[in-house]
Symmetry: C3
């Protein structure tokens, strides 16, 4: 059995952003030199996801809007000057009492999962024609890491 580990660091400009990972994962498989095995792609943070879905801008935008319905964002604008003076609205999140404002990003991470595992067959990622791997940033603007772990032979 051979293994190979690659780390990627992202610092997105937007708070939420999708980054294609297919080429990086294939490169990790090539570097490992394996023909048959598994490639695990896993965010090392609790406010980012990894998913395999369509590389179509419409569905990506739809999905972000939908995730905001299921797991509502929390960086609300203060409703007026008094509210602004009181500081950030902690909303319903107990998690925000310590000053955090990313509770929704935790929930999005749980909903879409923070990892995917890709079969490797004859040296290639064994994906369907419309399957693209994405890193899904839900609380960006700072350095965040991802690990790709390839095992096989």
């Amino acid at each position: 059995m051979t293994s190979h580990t690659v780390y990627r660091t992202f610092e997105t400009e937007e708070r939420r952003e999708f980054i294609r990972l297919g080429d990086d994962v294939q490169a990790a498989v090539d570097e490992a030199g394996i023909r048959e095995g598994l490639a695990l792609v896993s965010a090392m943070h609790i406010t980012a996801g990894v998913w395999i879905n369509d590389d179509e801008p419409g569905i990506l935008e739809d999905t972000l809007e939908w995730l905001d319905k299921l797991a509502p964002p929390s960086w609300r604008e203060p409703a007026n000057d008094v509210a602004a003076a009181l500081g950030p609205d902690p909303g319903d999140f107990r998690h925000h009492r310590g000053g955090e404002d990313n509770g929704d990003a935790h929930w999005k991470n749980l909903l879409v999962n923070h990892q995917a595992i890709v079969p490797v067959t004859e040296g290639r990622l064994d994906l369907g024609p419309w399957q693209q791997i994405f890193y899904c940033e839900f609380d960006g603007g700072r350095e965040k890491r991802l690990v790709i772990k390839v095992i096989g032979e």
Copy 2:
């Protein structure tokens, strides 16, 4: 390390349908001849899921209804003749502007995950007594593929 890869093709009659996979996955493990390892079961499409849950008709029907609440379907009947004349209702899905009507199936795929990984111990799938593996079709009526990848020794 040994590996073994099996592909399954499904063409369901219904748009949404559940197919038991336990026997297929065990067969793949038997063919691989491994005693200890992992079996990855992964849909090769972005509009189908794989889950491990109860093989009880009531909960399967409940769950489909519930998924339609969290990820509403998009093949709505036109409300009247004028709407029918305008063609399929694109609803809120940007994804449907290109003629697709399966946005909800993408979301169901993300919610329930498109893959599961089953431990193999002493040559058997190491599942609890009520755990059954299902392929969950959310946009059927055409040929769709699934990969089972077994690694171990």
Copy 3:
């Protein structure tokens, strides 16, 4: 390739409860004696989850409340004496017609997933600084099992 299998049994006092698993999974890796590989952590029940998220009491409490919104609980108190005499309210769950009352726990299992896979690098779980592995009980008060399967070398 080496493999090692560990079972854990939980019988929580509360119906819903979170249990930290990081130390158990690291112990399984140590016992396996591997340096590089994967550790699968998988609930053997269809009414429990395994997730990797923040070990912060506020977000755990928030998340349980949020999951109850997405997947509403079903152990409703009877509204009055007549209802009580009729027995447990089966609600909308077809699954409850046979006497079960844990339909929501099945859904929570599907939403948050029943398993996670942790990369192992240089003998350690390769997680980010805020990632903790949790067993998430959604229907406790009885013996339930979990399997940790380590493979690598």
